[in-house]
């Protein structure tokens, strides 16, 4: 029994002892769970901003925040005070209700994902999860799709052409990268046999990153693209479109949008840890939530690593990458996993009998798929390069002295 189950049992007996109806006790417990998860999301945001600033600084060979507190640990508090004391502007001619509602919706959509992420197994008092929805992973996809509306609301209500353009581009990117995300989730659900996040962790006799290696990669990449982080951060790049759809937001509203982005990024890390890395399981028993947090933070570190390494993609490059590479690859991956799993099951190997043989055979199939797709990419790249060089050679023949 971990600490949270003990506290929940204590509260439940306390409330039941007050003589309240059963459903009312359930309602109060659900509200407390929601409040705890929301607060957890906000506190994680504080930790994540500090981690991001220190790590990006180190990757860029500088120190990052060093003043407030030891190693700058109090910098999120300084950020919060700055955000609260800034002037809260509403542009002239803006649609006031929609303008004020949009950042609240983005932050809400990012935080309610934590309701279905399982932090621990069922040790007699229910799984350590906000609510054990039997449609857990589809709920996450639906919330992600609905958060696109908030981006459109922000862009439209700002009464600013650049905000509107930024919102259009953001929506194009967000709805494009939902397609490989959904296809990879279908592959995971197919192997796990259930959409319930708690059951998906239980179904992983072998961590799904082995039989579903390409799936994990595609899901992680489209997750990074969904949050609008580098290298897909054209939506809010200062040298491109000066903050895009949230250009008119100042102070606390900007802080809410910023919070939504970071919390969403961490949520993607936690979801990948749940779907592919065995969720809450770790070496020591009794503290399952610590292992999930560590795995989520490790994936967040990989996202920061992406930000410090890759140059930014242009909007046409990013959309071409999605529609011409990720979508066919995820379809091919779905077919391969379906056929491979069925063949292996006929041969007597499955996730319950001989799990590691099953896992490693599918892993080999994944590597073959990855090599074949990279072969296609390199051939297409070589053809494009040859075409460019032929065009340059033709231009040099026509005008040999020009362009020297």
């Amino acid at each position: 029994m971990d600490i949270f189950s003990i506290i929940a049992e204590f509260l439940r007996t306390l409330l039941g002892g007050l003589g309240l109806a059963d459903w009312f006790v359930d309602l109060i417990m659900a509200i407390i769970r929601a409040a705890v998860l929301g607060t957890f999301g906000l506190l994680t945001f504080m930790l994540l901003t500090w981690i991001e600033r220190k790590l990006i600084a180190r990757m860029q060979d500088r120190l990052g925040p060093t003043y407030h507190g030891p190693a700058g640990i109090l910098i999120p508090i300084a950020d919060g005070i700055k955000m609260m004391t800034k002037e809260d502007t509403v542009p002239a001619g803006a649609d006031k209700w929609v303008f004020n509602l949009a950042p609240i919706l983005t932050a809400a959509a990012a935080l309610i994902v934590f309701a279905v992420i399982p932090f621990g197994p069922d040790t007699g008092a229910g799984a350590l999860v906000g609510t054990p929805l039997n449609i857990g992973i589809i709920y996450i996809l639906a919330v992600g799709a609905a958060s696109v509306i908030a981006v459109l609301m922000a862009g439209w209500s700002s009464n600013n052409k650049f905000a509107l353009l930024g919102a259009f581009r953001a929506v194009a990117q967000l709805i494009s990268y939902e397609v490989p995300q959904v296809l990879t989730v279908v592959t995971v659900v197919m192997l796990a046999g259930t959409m319930d996040m708690v059951q998906i962790v239980h179904a992983q006799t072998v961590p799904f990153i082995f039989p579903l290696f390409v799936t994990a990669l595609i899901f992680f990449i489209s997750g990074v693209a969904e949050t609008g982080r580098s290298p897909f951060d054209l939506l809010e790049a200062e040298s491109e479109i000066v903050a895009g759809f949230h250009i008119e937001y100042s102070a606390m509203k900007f802080s809410l949008i910023f919070l939504a982005e970071f919390v969403h990024a961490f949520a993607i890390g936690a979801i990948v840890a749940t779907l592919f890395l065995n969720g809450w399981e770790g070496p020591l028993p009794g503290i399952p939530y610590v292992w999930l947090l560590l795995k989520g933070l490790a994936l967040f570190f990989v996202m920061i690593w992406f930000r410090g390494t890759f140059p930014r993609l242009r909007i046409d490059q990013l959309l071409a990458f999605n529609w011409k590479f990720l979508v066919p690859l995820s379809l091919a991956n779905l077919l391969m996993i379906a056929v491979g799993d069925k063949l292996l099951r006929d041969a007597g190997v499955s996730s319950t009998h001989n799990p590691w043989v099953w896992g490693l055979t599918l892993f080999a199939a994944n590597i073959v798929l990855l090599l074949v797709s990279l072969g296609f990419l390199s051939r297409a790249g070589r053809r494009a390069r040859m075409r460019e060089q032929a065009a340059i050679a033709r231009r040099r023949e026509i005008a040999p002295a020009a362009g020297r």
Partner: protein, 170 residues
């Protein structure tokens, strides 16, 4: 009043008010947003009926895709937020007649339905698997399923054809 009745009344109230605001909002963009609120209310009613998958798919498709399409169409309309635009056009009379006829027909149908006859049917425990099997069972819904897939393919090819860049000499 049980908790289920209370939440049903609450969600129905929200859905109906939002639906009313869709047709009476002056600003077309606000009407689209009220439509999103209506669809979310319907998703909440699905949850009350223990059809969780339908609720999630309602949010994912209606709010996450169709509403975005509607908002794009609204944004491309001229004079969306202009308060001087007239709200009714010359077809309003005929529209009112059609609405009243529709209301009479619906009232007949709703009046002759045996309300309160049976209790809420229990959803099968494994509703998602049942739905999945029904969609591929030759005795149930596989034919409409395949026909809809072909329809979606036709729509996809059509949209790519209509939206493709014109090459040279066309």
């Amino acid at each position: 009043m049980t908790a289920q009745q209370f939440f049903f009344l609450l969600f129905s109230f929200v859905t109906l008010i939002a639906a009313l605001r869709v047709v009476t909002a002056g600003n077309l963009f606000h009407a689209a947003l009220w439509l999103i609120a209506t669809l979310a209310g319907v998703a909440a009613l699905f949850v009350l009926l223990e059809a969780g998958l339908l609720a999630a798919v309602q949010v994912l498709l209606y709010i996450g895709a169709i509403s975005i399409l509607i908002i794009f169409a609204v944004m491309l309309t001229r004079g969306v937020a202009d308060p001087r635009e007239k709200r009714l056009n010359s077809w309003s009379g005929l529209g009112a007649v059609a609405a009243i006829v529709m209301m009479i027909i619906l009232a007949q149908v709703i009046g002759t339905f045996p309300w309160g006859g049976s209790a809420l049917a229990e959803a099968p425990a494994d509703s998602i698997a049942t739905l999945g099997k029904a969609l591929v069972d030759p005795a149930q819904f596989v034919l409409p399923f395949e026909v809809i897939s072909v329809l979606l393919l036709v729509a996809l090819i059509g949209s790519v054809y209509v939206a493709r860049a014109r090459g040279e000499g066309e």
